[in-house]
């Protein structure tokens, strides 16, 4: 193969790129399910979500998933960082970061593969909540629209929080620091969309209305709540997908930068 020292040969084609990311995904899933941590995280989270839902469902007596979707962001503030905190921190701790960086894979392939593995784990969590809507359908005829859209919103919100967690995992070698930083950031995105927080912040500087500004431009909750009400909005999709992609690109750059 000849070399052009100025421009270099082209990067791997798209199918080779995805194939490499797929190999990383398989390895990460094997690492997850080869130990007990994944099972513990999933079981604890499902028990927490399930008990919260069942309690509120019988208290409200309404045939919908609102109690589940209302509480989910709070659960994800802890669950997503718990899933993603080890994705890079563990490699730093085990010194396998150098092994990753000296395999013929682009950092973006590794980032994408690790992210896809986190998404798979989260998908298992969401699949584990399906008995809840199935129970509703067994009890009566709930509106399937908000349930379907709510799950789409849950998937998008989780994807964003996992991207946040993976980024922080790449920025620090300490899993606890990665967990706390991710949880704080996710909590910020949730809290800034809460009406009481918005009102409180607006009250601090009525001329600027910082609470409303944050809710309109930053907060995840208003976009997520639209999904939970059955509204599949393009702006919501753009927000979640765009922000997640941006964080993954940052993650890739951070990983490349940490070689030095």
């Amino acid at each position: 193969m000849t070399a052009d020292a100025t421009t270099g040969p082209p990067l791997p084609p798209a199918h080779a790129f995805l194939r490499g990311a797929g190999l990383v995904l398989r390895r990460e899933l094997a690492a997850w399910f080869g130990g007990a941590i994944a099972y513990v995280v999933l079981v604890v989270s499902l028990l927490a979500v399930g008990s919260l839902f069942v309690h509120e469902f019988f208290a409200a007596g309404k045939l919908d998933m609102a109690p589940f979707f209302d509480r989910l962001p709070l659960v994800l503030v802890l669950l997503a960082p718990a899933i993603s905190m080890r994705s890079w921190s563990e490699d730093r701790k085990q010194r396998t970061f150098e092994l990753w960086m000296t395999l013929p894979l682009e950092p973006a392939q590794i980032v994408l593969g690790k992210y896809a593995a986190s998404l798979c784990l989260y998908a298992v969590f969401l699949a584990g909540t399906l008995p809840l809507p199935l129970m509703l359908f067994a009890l009566g005829r709930p509106d399937p629209g908000p349930i379907t859209a709510g799950y789409a919103g849950a998937a998008l919100l989780g994807a964003l929080f996992l991207a946040i967690g993976q980024l922080f995992s790449s920025l620090t070698g300490d899993q606890i620091v990665a967990f706390l930083a991710s949880s704080f950031t996710c909590a910020f995105l949730v809290a800034t969309g809460e009406a009481r927080v918005v009102d409180g912040l607006d009250g601090l500087a009525p001329a600027v209305a910082p609470g409303s500004l944050l809710a309109d431009w930053v907060a995840a909750t208003p976009r997520y709540e639209a999904f939970a009400r059955g509204l599949l909005t393009a702006s919501g999709c753009v927000y979640f997908v765009g922000l997640s992609a941006l964080l993954l690109a940052w993650n890739s750059a951070a990983v490349s930068g940490r070689r030095t």
Binding site: M1, T2, A3, A5, G8, P9, L11, P12, G20, L23, R26, R27, A30, A31, G34, G35, Q94, R95, T96, F97, E98, L99, M101, T102, L103, P104, L105, E106, R259, T260
Partner: protein, 255 residues
Amino acid sequence: MIRAQNVTRRFGDSLAVHSVTFSIGPGEIVGLLGANGAGKTTLLRMLATYLPPDEGRLLVCGHDAAREPYWVLRKIGYLSEHNALFDSMRVDDFLDFIARVRGLEGTLSAGRRAFVLDRCGLADVLAKRVRECSKGFRQRIGLAAAILHDPPVLLLDEPTHGLDPLQVAAFRDLLRELRPGHAILLSSHVLAEVAAVATRMLVMHDARIVLDEPTKSLEVRAQAAGRSVEDLVLDAVRAGGAPEVQPALEEARAP
């Protein structure tokens, strides 16, 4: 196959590699010798694209290590100093993963896999998890992963670390077998280890290369002067480096 041109690397104010220039062609086994902290690992990490040089240029099979890391990584096999492996994987799964990442499929993969399992003596631990393997076996797994795809360039950082004498002898035989058509650069701080297998020696001291000479030529020179190869290496170090590092190298004379 490997060319370093005035390569310099700093960590803060400290010079790890200073203005290093050398080249290695096919069929050469080059021993990179030096005391701890001489710059060997940094140089190998730069060749393996893990660290970019601050100055100068590193070419591997015509590809610039800093600008084209992906293509350099396809051409090299690298055994790192710490030889960190994916501990939770089974040995066979780990080698399978490396083979797939390296693009080995089907009969080619099976053939190469059989070769490395035989040469590295891994058949007995294939079903074990990497974390369950002894230090010697871990080193052999790392070596197997480095040569699995038959790379034209092999970079081995302290490859015999943790191996017993029989395994060291087998490793030397393997390097001699791989030698034709391959450029092999192996580092060590033990002179006897390098001299036993290397066709050429690069001696680093205080971030610089202070000796670059074929092993045979060194042996002839030593014989003519009635001295040992170790003495000539130490002479080069004394002439080219700071005196405080010399005791460490003298300590490394013992096999």
